[in-house]
């Protein structure tokens, strides 16, 4: 009886704790949502619930460059999702399935490359992309190029997944005379739906949150900004008093589609993270 009682108490405590945690984790998002409907003032204030409600902030958004930033980010995210998935899968499948002489040195090489701060390379990439005319107003293709080109380095999670598919499948197909390419398309890929979706999802979400590269490549030109850079600038000293609530509204518009997509594909994300992240 005593054991049972103590378990009930500890479980009640944990339930209370979990409620507190959930509240703490959700509060900022509730606040941002509420403040996006605040009409009486536009700067940051010390209270949460608006005194006057309205959608002014959302309508004002569309008189700024926000729709342009939004399309920029959306296009970059969409194209990156497709191309990056192809590249990451090529890389991880090869490193998981093939045993060739350069395999180990290659993995070590990429590990060492990864130890350099990636931001350093932005200085030169900016100059090169500028020469190619892919910066400022044309930032989107430049951004996609930067996101996709070195994405092969992030092969760890999906390699971990491919490692779990038994090689006996490959061998059986080899005996039946399939080429290695056929094995990939006809046997491995159909089995890899979870990791493909995980890769697409993470690749799609990446560009929405990128600040550094987008800031470099757009270089202050409004038409080339993505949402992160554009909204960040609304919070600097000169603009925060007039744009704070608009930032909230913009934040809501950015967060909603990504979150909805995430909710639908949550299962795959969890699988990818729990399965692959640790092995990396």
């Amino acid at each position: 009886m005593g054991l049972k009682a103590s378990r009930t108490i500890s479980n009640t405590l944990i339930h209370i704790l979990l409620i507190v945690i959930s509240v703490v984790w959700l509060i900022p998002f509730v606040c941002i949502l509420l403040q996006s409907f605040r009409v009486e003032s536009t700067g940051p204030v010390g209270y949460v619930v608006p005194q006057q409600w309205g959608v002014d902030n959302y309508t004002k958004l569309f008189q700024t460059d926000f729709p342009r930033w939004y399309t920029n980010t959306f296009i970059a995210a969409l194209v990156t999702a497709v191309l990056q998935t192809v590249i990451v899968l090529c890389m991880s499948y090869t490193l998981s399935r093939f045993r060739f002489k350069m395999r180990e040195p290659l993995m070590r090489f990429m590990l060492i490359l990864g130890m350099f701060p990636g931001m350093l390379s932005m200085i030169i990439l900016y100059r090169v992309l500028k020469d190619l005319g892919l910066t400022q107003a044309n930032a989107v293709p430049g951004l996609i190029l930067v996101y996709v080109a070195s994405s092969g380095m992030g092969y760890y999670v999906s390699k971990g997944f491919f490692d779990t598919i038994p090689t006996s499948l490959d061998e059986a197909a080899r005996v039946d005379g399939a080429t290695r390419a056929q094995i990939l398309y006809k046997i491995i890929l159909p089995l890899s739906k979870p990791i493909v979706i995980y890769t697409v999802l993470t690749a799609f979400m990446g560009p929405w949150g990128d600040y550094v590269f987008a800031r470099y490549i757009s270089f202050g030109t409004s038409a080339g900004k993505n949402v992160a850079v554009g909204l960040y600038d609304w919070l600097n000293k000169d603009q925060i008093a007039s744009s704070y609530t608009m930032f909230c509204a913009g934040g809501v518009l950015v967060a909603v589609p990504v979150t909805v997509l995430f909710m639908f594909l949550q299962k795959y994300y969890v699988e990818g993270v729990t399965g692959g992240a640790v092995k990396g």
């Binding site: 979990l18 490359l113 100059r127 092969g152 909204l231 993270v273 992240a277």
Partner: protein, 512 residues
């Protein structure tokens, strides 16, 4: 330090066991570094030997080869063409033509200019048509450095291809001598999707990595030895040039700046120390609290397990820049937190979350917990479920308390499985640009560090300092490069030491 045998070790008291392990850890560091140099030396020896072997093989091939092979030494692919391997022959020949053409047309110029990085900078010249002085741009240091490096890459690729070409001739000769048939172009095409499929798959990703990651890194390492900055951009204002180790000397010098400001080395030391402290706390607070939340949700008798998890996971979906920027404003002087606390009457003056160095440092660590726990909760949930249940069962029968079960089963198991993850997460946090930059931007500013490039704040990590330098008014790219190289050195050292120590630590763990 004396090494105990297993039996002696087990006889030690708890405190002594800990001291012993700590001592072993620190005495292990020089050994690990020594081992590293030994490995490097062996690697160099191996490379030297294999180059020697290759050279000998090349000479042998030339002496013993037939006339087709000998001609191939000068006209690549000739042997392939003469022996009927048309496809390979054409590819080799094409590569040689492109290479020679490139070297004559532009490669030679870049190589020649590389040691000086350009001779004539932009000049004012009289233009008769416009009747005024116009700027004429001449050499471009940036392009010279970039294409110079690219040309060296290309030469290495050419030498490698040439070697492959020689090797293939030797092989083809041997195959023909033994009376077998050579592979036809059709076979080659088939091998692209079969035997050599890995090369096909890797071609695109590796090209991307080489051009967009490796080449820029080589370039930026070289920039650390130049004076490339906003006022020497190499083209429109003035050329930049090699300065040797000057920038490293500046970074590591202990002489203070004007007005009693501290030296570069002191600033660097401070930022590095805070970077390490930050990485330590950011990694381990998240790790243990995330594990705790995961265990709480997993506990028997807890309802809505899925619901709690979903709430936390959803916060991952919202792009970090929104949540971080918003939370940073919540904690501002006139933000919601201070406003609420004041209207509740708990405080009468705004708390200096971002204005005071210590407050700011603690606040970023706390907010990072808020950011990191959902992710860590996900990772640890999976591993916790993998711990065999009978371990706990027998522990419970032996009368182990919940804390003992955690100490003796859960924690060792978790550390064992997530060891490598902890390391990558530590180095990842050292370079965690987003959290610091979006929350504080490095503020509050450190006035004593004003002699250093960029503005240095108390919450600045090395990586945010680097970013500020490159985007600041002076844009001292060379200083950014020096910092980047030092970041690499620190990260690489930590990784190497930990990797070398990991197995020995594991053996000494009481986990079996």
């Amino acid at each position: 330090m004396k090494q105990y045998s297993d039996l002696e070790y087990l006889k030690l008291s708890k405190g002594n066991k800990f001291l012993y392990r700590l001592g072993r850890f620190f005495t292990g560091i020089p050994v690990a570094i020594g081992r590293l140099f030994l490995k490097l030396w062996e690697l160099l020896k191996k490379i030297g030997l294999s180059i020697g072997r290759e050279c000998a093989d090349i000479v042998n091939t030339f002496i013993h080869g037939d006339w087709k092979t000998k001609t191939s030494f000068f006209i690549m692919g000739f042997g392939n063409l003469a022996r009927g391997q048309i496809l390979r022959g054409i590819l080799f020949l094409l590569f040689e033509i492109v290479f020679i053409g490139y070297m004559i047309l532009s490669g030679g110029y870049w190589l020649r200019m590389l040691p000086s990085l350009g001779i004539t900078g932009p000049s004012e010249e009289y233009n008769e048509v416009l009747d005024t002085y116009v700027t004429k741009y001449n050499d471009n240091s940036f392009q010279i450095l970039l294409y110079g490096v690219l040309t060296i890459f290309f030469i290495v690729a050419f030498i490698y291809t040439w070697r492959v070409n020689v090797k293939q001739n030797k092989l083809a000769e041997q195959i023909l001598k033994s009376g077998k048939k050579l592979k036809s172009g059709k076979d080659d095409l088939r091998s692209v999707v079969d035997d050599q499929f890995h090369k096909t798959l890797l071609a695109l990703p590796l090209t991307g990595i080489l051009v967009f990651t490796a080449l820029p890194i080589v370039f930026m390492i070289l920039v650390a030895f130049t004076n490339y900055d906003g006022t020497h951009n190499g083209y429109t204002n003035s050329l930049f040039t090699w300065v040797g180790l000057d920038n490293f000397n500046t970074m590591l010098s202990w002489t203070g700046g004007a007005g009693g400001t501290q030296s570069y080395a002191a600033t660097f030391g401070e930022v590095l120390l805070w970077t390490l402290i930050w990485a330590f706390f950011a990694t381990f607070t998240n790790y243990f609290l995330g594990m705790f939340v995961a265990m709480a949700i997993n506990k028997k008798g807890i309802r809505f397990k899925k619901g709690w998890r979903t709430i936390l996971v959803l916060t991952i979906a919202i792009p970090q820049f929104i949540s971080l920027l918003y939370v940073s404003k919540m904690f501002a002087k006139n933000g919601i937190i201070n406003g609420t606390l004041m209207s509740l009457g708990w405080i009468d003056k705004a708390l200096p979350f971002w204005e005071d160095a210590t407050w700011a440092r603690i606040t970023v660590i706390l907010i990072n917990i808020w950011i990191g726990i959902p992710y860590l909760m996900l990772i640890t949930t999976g591993i916790l479920m993998n711990i065999p249940a009978d371990l706990y069962e027998s522990a419970r029968i032996d009368g182990a308390s919940g804390w003992q079960q955690y100490r003796k089963i859960t924690l060792p198991y978790m550390l064992f499985v997530t060891g490598p993850y902890l390391l990558t997460s530590f180095t990842g946090n050292m370079n965690n640009f987003n959290v610091i930059y979006l929350l504080t931007g490095g503020a509050p500013t450190n006035p004593a560090a004003s002699s250093a490039a960029g503005t240095v704040g108390y919450t600045d990590l090395l990586i945010t300092w680097l970013f500020k330098i490159t985007t600041g008014a002076e844009s001292q790219y060379y200083m950014a490069s020096v910092i980047g190289i030092l970041v690499f050195v620190v990260v690489a050292l930590i990784s190497l030491i930990v990797y070398n120590l990991l197995p020995s630590i594991k053996n000494e763990e009481d986990f079996r």
